[in-house]
Each structure stands twice: as C-alpha cells, then as structure tokens.
C-alpha cells in the first residue's frame, strides 16, 4: 500500500517554515507498519492543491494532507476537495455546537467566521480537534483514502495520534509489521556496531537500522512476516539479543526522552541535581528544564564560561587551571565537586570542553570534552571527543552527561 504525505502552505515553498509535520507523521505511520512512499509540499492556491491532490490520488492509495483547513479566505483545502471529489459542502450542526461550547468555557464569543468550520464535504468522515477549530476530514472513494488534517503541529499531532492512527490500523491491509526502537546515547555508532555485529543473526524479514543524530543513536527493528505473531516474535527476539549486548547503553524506547527519564529517576529517588557548564553555555540546564515540573529535582546551573567564574564561584583551584588547563579531567572534577557543594544537591554534572571551531591543540583537538559527575560516593570525570561541529558538540556533551548520571543512579557498570 503506497502512502503519500502532502503538506500545504506557501510558507513551505518560500522556506519560511521547515516542514516538521511530514517527519512526525511518517514516523507514527511506520510504527503501525505503514511506509510512506511519497512526500511533497504544495502552495495555498486551489490550482496548486488540485494538481497535487490528483497526482497523489493517482499514485498512492492513502493520501494525508496537512494545512489549509482554517476559516479564512486563504485556507483553500476544502475548496480543492470540492473540485477534485465533486462533493458539496454540507453544514454540520454538531460540529458548530461543539465549537461554540469550547468558546463558552473560555468565556469568549466565537468569531462569526468560525461557522465556516462546520461546512464539510458531503459524505466525509470527520475527526474531532481538541485544540483548534478545524476538524480532520476523511473521504474514501474508489479504493483511495484521502485524509486532511490541520497544519498547526499541536492540532495535527492530536488528531493523528488519537484518531487517524487507530482508523488506519483498522482499514489497512498492512502486512504484519512490527517496529521497535531502542534509544541510546553517549556511545558512537561504530562502537555499537562493534558490539552488535559479531553474534548478530537476522531472521528473514527482519531489518536493523542505525539512526545516528546529535542526541544519540537509535536502533530500529522492522520485522515483516505473514502473521502478526510471527513478526512480533522475531522483532522481540532481536530486541532481546540487542539488550544482551548493548543493554546498558539503552535509555528508552520509541519516543522516550532522556531528559524526561532522568527527571523521573530523580523524582522517584527524591534526589536533586545541579550542573556546572562551560562549553555548553547553559544547554544542559535548558535541556533538563524543558520538562514541565523539573523544579522538583533541578536546583540550578553555574555557567562558568570564563575561568574567573570557575575559580570564584565553583572554587576550582587556580593551580588546576594553570597546570592542567580549563579543559581537563582535574578541572571537570573540581567543577562538579564545587557545584554540588555550592548548590547543595545530591548530584552535580560538569562539562568543560573545546567546542570549536578554534581553540584545539594536538593534545586536545576541537571536540575534546570532559564530563564530571559528583555525588556523595565521590567525583569522577570522563574524557570524550565529539568532533569538530560546535553545535553538535554541545548537544552531544549534554546528552552524554545525562547518560552518565543515569548509569550512576541505576548503578550500571
């Protein structure tokens, strides 16, 4: 079954917006065994949409669009649907009532223009939208399924996850595919390959992919078989093997986030964390506090970009910096130690490195980074090299630091 994702909006074709909707949808679809074959973007005009809809319906069995469902004049998706499918728009009382109710709760009068949102193509199924005024639409005709979702990411995601995915799971003739993802960080792809490959046996229909990004390497298993049971068994057999050889590097599965897992671990153990950052400049603190409720476990960060801050605030001895440099095991240990004492926490992480593009030496090339971890059991630091890309460096260092902490809390050797 071929699937096309079609994102709609002039702002995509001008490059004003990076299309993150298409990737989100593709990943969610793959999780239920549906592979996307075509991805495209088109402009806001009815003509452009009509051309794109016809092409999509011609080459794919399922077409999913996002965008152009708002109530204003330049939202043309429904107009294009009317032309392509030759269906009139019909007023749906229940959609309007629901919309009005949501405005009432917020004590705001509904703008009259929103009445348009209750006009839907004849015979279309619709999916409720919890966060906005545009319901999702679904038209089935001549063996094709055409689904239109709003373009606002929050709205698209809710309707996709709550409505479209369960709906497609039912109608799809998908082969029995099982998709599993193991998430790792702090260890390079080549090291993982080295550990996994020697005893790896892939049964027929089972594929293993390495998906590296700045924040870590994900391992994706796709298992295809005649029956659901068979595909599941094979996928989980491989997962068990992976757990046995690289299990200690796996922090989560599917869409887990390391910063969320760390937060949960700290909360469960009633522990607190502080950070002392040099080259990351605050990125690690920002990452940890991206999780709502992080004030429960995160106390603060001392971003000691200048050496004076390391010396005056974190109490790193001047001698350490003179003798070993600010990017050294000794300095990372002193930073973590000083930070834990200063902010009175159970754990402190420190990061000091040469982010680049300049500042490297033969002994410590760009990318050399020391990460320290201090707890009541003592303080250690580990040396990493994250490469020459400044941005990648800072992200890798922050995730590696959290992974060190995860190992320590869970006592993983």
């Amino acid at each position: 079954m071929d699937i096309e994702i079609l994102t709609i909006g002039d702002e995509l074709l001008t490059g004003d917006i990076i299309d993150s909707n298409a990737a989100y949808m593709a990943e969610r679809l793959l999780q239920i065994g549906l592979r996307v074959r075509y991805m495209s973007s088109t402009g806001d005009s009815v003509d452009q949409m009509e051309e794109a809809f016809r092409l999509g319906l011609n080459r794919a069995q399922i077409v999913i669009t996002t965008g152009g469902l708002g109530p204003t004049d330049d939202d043309n998706t429904k107009k294009a649907i009317v032309k392509v499918f030759k269906r009139n728009l019909i007023f749906h009382e229940e959609v309007l009532v629901d919309l009005k109710k949501r405005y009432e709760i917020r004590n705001i009068e509904m703008p009259a223009i929103n009445q348009n949102q209750a006009l839907l193509p004849q015979g279309a199924k619709f999916f409720p939208n919890k966060h906005g005024s545009a319901v999702g639409l679904c038209i089935s005709e001549n063996g094709r399924t055409f689904i239109s979702l709003p373009g606002v990411p929050q709205e698209m995601k809710q309707i996709l996850d709550d409505e479209v995915i369960p709906f497609l799971q039912n109608i799809s003739d998908n082969e029995s595919i099982t998709v599993l993802k193991l998430r790792t960080t702090g260890t390079g792809e080549s090291k993982l390959v080295e550990l996994i490959t020697p005893k790896l046996k892939l049964e027929s229909g089972v594929k293993l992919a390495y998906l590296p990004s700045y924040s870590g390497v994900d391992l994706r298993i796709i298992s295809t078989a005649k029956t659901q049971e068979e595909s599941k068994t094979r996928a989980y057999d491989l997962k068990r093997y992976l757990d046995s050889v690289i299990g200690k590097y796996v922090y989560g599965k599917d869409f887990d986030k390391l910063e969320e897992i760390i937060g949960q671990l700290l909360k469960d153990n009633d522990k607190t964390l502080a950070t002392a950052e040099s080259c990351t400049g605050g990125y690690l603190g920002s990452l940890v506090t991206s999780i709502p409720g992080s004030s429960k476990w995160f106390i603060g960060s001392i971003v000691s970009y200048a050496n004076e801050v390391k010396i005056n605030q974190l109490k790193v001895a001047e001698k350490i910096i003179e003798e070993h440099g600010a990017v050294s095991e000794e300095c990372a240990i002193a930073m973590a130690d000083g930070c834990r004492k200063l902010l009175d926490t159970d754990y402190a992480l420190s990061i000091t490195g040469i982010a680049g593009p300049d500042g490297g030496t033969d002994e410590k090339p760009v990318g050399t980074t020391y990460i320290g971890l201090s707890s009541k059991h003592g303080t250690t630091a580990t040396r990493f090299n994250f490469g020459t890309n400044r941005n990648a460096n800072r992200i890798r260092a922050s995730y590696s630091a959290l992974e060190m902490l995860r190992h320590d809390i869970l006592d993983i050797k």
Copy 2:
C-alpha cells in the same frame, strides 16, 4: 520559471530526519527572485529516483536535488541520472587530484572507494565541494536544468551559496524581483501591524509579508517589476517607510542573527555580559554561546531555578520573594543586579517567569515573564506575556532579553 526541489533519502520517508535542506534552498532561491513551485522527497532506490526525476523534469524547468551522491553502494543518484539522461559516467582526473590533495593535507590516506567520486555523467558541469567528497552536478538539456547537490547540510549550503546561486542568477530569465527581509523581535505581530498599516501604501507589484516565529517577526518585501531598477526602487521605498515607523524594532536584515549582532556590539564596545536565568533554565546562555568566540564578551550565567539559588548566589532578598514572588519586577531587578555584581560584568540580563504549562494565577497567568537589565546606569525590568506554550515562552523570553540589551547599548528609546 517553475522550480522543483527534490530531497532524496529513505530517512526522510521514515521520518527519521526532518528535511531542513529544502527550506534553506527555497529561501536562498527566493532571495534571487526564483520561486519554488514544487517540493518533494523520494527514497534511495534507483526506481524511486527515476520516477521522481522524470516527474520533476516534466513539470519544472529547474530541478535541484540533494542527497545520494556519496561513494557507497546505497548512493544511487548518479545511477538514476545515467538512466534518465542516458549519459555514461566519465572519469575526471582533476576531481580525483583535488580530492587526494585534501586528504594529504590532513595526513590521511584517501579511502579507495572515494575514486567513485571522480566519475561524473558525460557533459555535466560540476561544482566543487569544500567540505566533502561529492561535487555538485549540473546537466542542461532540452530547456531543463538539473542540479544535484550532496545531502549533508554543510556541504549543500556551501555549494548552493558559492556556486549554484551565482550560476542561476546568470541563466535565469527571472522577472526583476527584489527581496528584502527586516528582522524584528520582542514585539508581537499585532503591534507591528498597528504601527505599519495606517500610512502604508503598497505600490503595484510590491508585497509585504509578516513571518512570525518563536524568535521574532520577520517582515519580507517582495517587489516585482519590469526592470531591475524599478523593482529595487520600490522595494527600498517600502523599506524606508518601514524603518520610519518600526525601525527601532529592526535588529537586522536577511539572515542576520540577533545573538551574533549582540556579540559584535559587545566586542566593539569592549563590554562584557552575564545572565541570571530562572524559567529559561540556561537557554539564554546557550544562545549567546552558540556564537564562536563568545568567550570574548560572555562571562557566565547563574541559572537560579530554585529560590535558594536566587537568595544565596544572586543575593535576592528573601523579603522580595516573600512579598512579591519569584516572578516579579522586584525579583528580576534584584537578580540582574546581583548577577552583575557577582560576576563583575558591564551588563547583566535576568529572566524570571512562569513557563507553564502549570503555575499560573489570575494575576500572573502562564507566560508572565519579567526581564531585567542591569548596567552602570542602573537596573530596570519589563513585564511580558509570551503565551501558554512552554517551549515558545522560553525562546521568546531569551530573544526579548537580547533585544532589550541591544536597545540599551545603542541607546534606542
């Protein structure tokens, strides 16, 4: 002239990678007056590429692809070109010599597989790649121009900017289009509209677009006319008008970054900066230090997520927090003040707010944020409301803080 951007890679269709190449290319092309009409993504197989290449050449005059130009077996772009254009691959000595030289400089032996990179379709023009082994390709045939670039963003950007853009500027029959972008931050779209609209007169062929994002609102002028001179005159007339009504909110043009401009201003004035962050958790420090060389002007940040850090490190009086709360004008002032003294800098910025999703009250709803600025002239704080999205909030607060500093340094009232 219709243009298609075609990005290649299975990792796009599985949603493992968000396609940022297409948006980058579209924006650069628009700057020279070339509008993208089609954007699409296809998989790694020769079949999929062949189908996509033929469709592109059928509906667009210029097709630009990225990806699949590497030296390994699953890099199939050249194979698909051979099939579609019926041209053989020819060995180019000069490409290999250049590649070997670059390995020599780094004292590394060139992997033998890279010899493939010197095989190019007969009659193709090629564009050198400064950062990688795959040169860009260009085939002109039957009124169509087909350009293939590598998929690694750094390599694609260099070849596009240095080679493709000048090349297309020469061959294009583009109408005379002038595109200008003014970048603003710290002020909402509605406020800008209110200031701009009353006396706005748009000459024929001139369009003004508001492009809001978390980091600010860009204003884009597109002016189309019969001659280059006419389009330029009209675009700059509008720019002058915009400068007269909202000039103080404009921090830069085109692809300028506020964090870079702030860095330059601080460096030029030989001044230093520190930050005291609560709800942003380190994001502001991370933003400032994303610029290489920022150690020249940035000293550090005290991320005072817990009130104890505000009290113990930043010396915010306990009474202030008891009486006014940690999210208050008084606290923001005390944080900025304390930070500037503690880290001994010329400027200090502070941010304290309710990032959400919880923690709001009637008086201070989610999104309420106070930003403080301390300098030798004194300390002030301003109240903002950035809305209910936690992530957006933190980004908006950080950019607004930098914009306050810009106004102070340049003495903009």
